[in-house]
């Protein structure tokens, strides 16, 4: 908008105001009518759809979905689109680049669109962008609502090679009960934040770490960790075992649980399929 347009707008608006009505009561009454309807809707929904509580953190319940509130579904859904982690669609697109571009565009809208025209019928570009953004978010939200594969429920998963009562069976339980499946997929069950672990046992990991293990586990000693020892170190301190790892540490299990979990992981895809 150039100076002239700005002056024209100001004059026109001053005229509109002069011919207008006082804020009180004309605008105030409308505002309150709508606010009362909204309050009634909120109270009605609270009575009709009582809010519940899910299972507590670290409970042994096997089915839960680590889902955010519905208004973050579009972000989580975007994460799935970029999960391939290839050079063109890295995860960082979904976690950082796209959300920040959207945020900057949102903040900068009035400085990008500086034309004087205000009628939406004469702003086809703005209208198309608005509709595109709205439809995109609605679609992602809908996908996140309906398409999310339930995570957890993995206690029902059966692996050949795991006999009830064995260390590996106990390890599988530790794995399921600690929410590992909220980020990792095993045999088609689980989230996609971390790598798929179905065949993780086929990989060879090794790390040198000279510090003390946060929770000492009998038989696991540094400074070189390989095999099950690496899994113990990695679970307790991911960045110690894999520098730069984005996984949270699990430092509150018992030594036996660490050992069992490591046995389970180390055999995934080799002994336990």
């Amino acid at each position: 908008m150039n100076r002239q347009d700005q002056e024209a707008y100001k004059a026109d608006y001053a005229q509109a105001k002069k011919e207008g009505k006082p804020f009180f009561p004309y605008a105030i009454y409308k505002d309150h009518v709508v606010a009362v309807i909204v309050f009634a809707a909120i109270i009605g929904m609270s009575i009709w759809q009582r809010v519940g509580v899910g299972p507590p953190v670290y409970s042994a319940s096997s089915t839960f979905e680590p889902r955010p509130e519905w208004y973050f579904f579009f972000l989580f859904q975007m994460l799935k689109i970029f999960k391939n982690q290839n050079a063109f669609l890295p995860v960082i697109m979904a976690t950082f680049i796209v959300p920040n571009i959207l945020m900057v565009l949102l903040l900068a809208t009035p400085f990008i669109d500086r034309r004087a025209e205000r009628r939406i019928s004469k702003r086809p570009f703005a209208l198309s962008v608005g509709i595109l953004v709205f439809m995109g978010m609605a679609w992602l939200t809908y996908q996140g609502e309906t398409g999310a594969a339930p995570v957890g429920g993995g206690n029902a998963l059966t692996f050949t090679g795991i006999t009830p009562g064995s260390a590996a069976a106990a390890g599988q339980a530790v794995f399921m009960d600690n929410g590992c499946t909220s980020c990792h997929m095993v045999k088609g069950v689980g989230g996609q934040v971390g790598p798929n672990l179905t065949t993780v046992g086929t990989k060879t990991f090794s790390a040198t770490y000279s510090g003390k293990l946060p929770v000492p586990v009998p038989g696991v000693k540094g400074p070189t960790y390989t095999g099950t020892g690496w899994y113990v170190l990695h679970t307790q301190c991911p960045i110690c075992a894999k520098p730069g790892s984005g996984m949270p540490a699990f430092a509150s299990l018992t030594p036996t649980e660490y050992a069992n979990l490591a046995t389970f992981l180390n055999g995934l895809g080799t002994t336990y399929k």
Partner: protein
Amino acid sequence: MSTSNIGPKGPVTKTGEVVIDHVDHRTGAKTGIGWFLNRNIPGETSWFQTLGFAAMAVFGLQAVTGIVLAMYYKPEPTQAYASIQDITNHVTWGWLVRGMHKWGASAMIILVFLHMARVFIFGSYKYPRELTWVTGAILLIMVMFMGLTGYLLVWDQRAYWATVVAMNITASAPVIGPYIADVLRAGPTFNAHTLSRFYAIHMLVIPGGMATFIGLHLFLVSKLGISEPPWSKRATRARRAEEAAARAAARDRRPQGRREVSVDPAPQTLNVEAGQ
């Protein structure tokens, strides 16, 4: 008013007037409130222009229900879950207050997005209301963060893991990501202090920021005046009159008897030269 003015004023009325005058004399409150309420707004405003107020009203509702919840909630990893269950199942009206807070959060998100959509469609973010939009966008981001931090407080499986994932995503951002995540988590991993930190952010830090920005937002809205819907009858009339005046002026500049096309050379010659 006029009928009650006859006869001496009662002592209560007199005291009231004295107090009001005292305050007004020092603060100008009467003038200010009078200006706020009696200032003119354009004659035709749309019902869609009530959505901002509705969002603000729900913010107030969230504050009230949030205060009630804070009286029973315990931000301790070992007690949080039990205290939420207590509120839901035992505290009188607790289920209702919690329900209103939860549904209110969703309502607020919806209202803020609808409000933003109406501002966008009306072109209300244009001159001189650019900064109103910017303060609004910051409010939108803060509302989203309220949702993120509040969700964890229930301390159930799905909220917990969803928030762990969200924090990992934060930490994966380049350069400052890890630092922001550390500040939010109160350390490099989720720990016993994470919950109380989220609690403090949810009920003190962001609401304070939001109150400030709602204040700024409202100040700008009342200072600049609410925009007039672009298709209002008055605006259309004004536009038509302007166009008619422009046509009339063009006609007046024309020598008698000439056809319009050949005389008003400016746009056409310009087009031919610049275009080809």
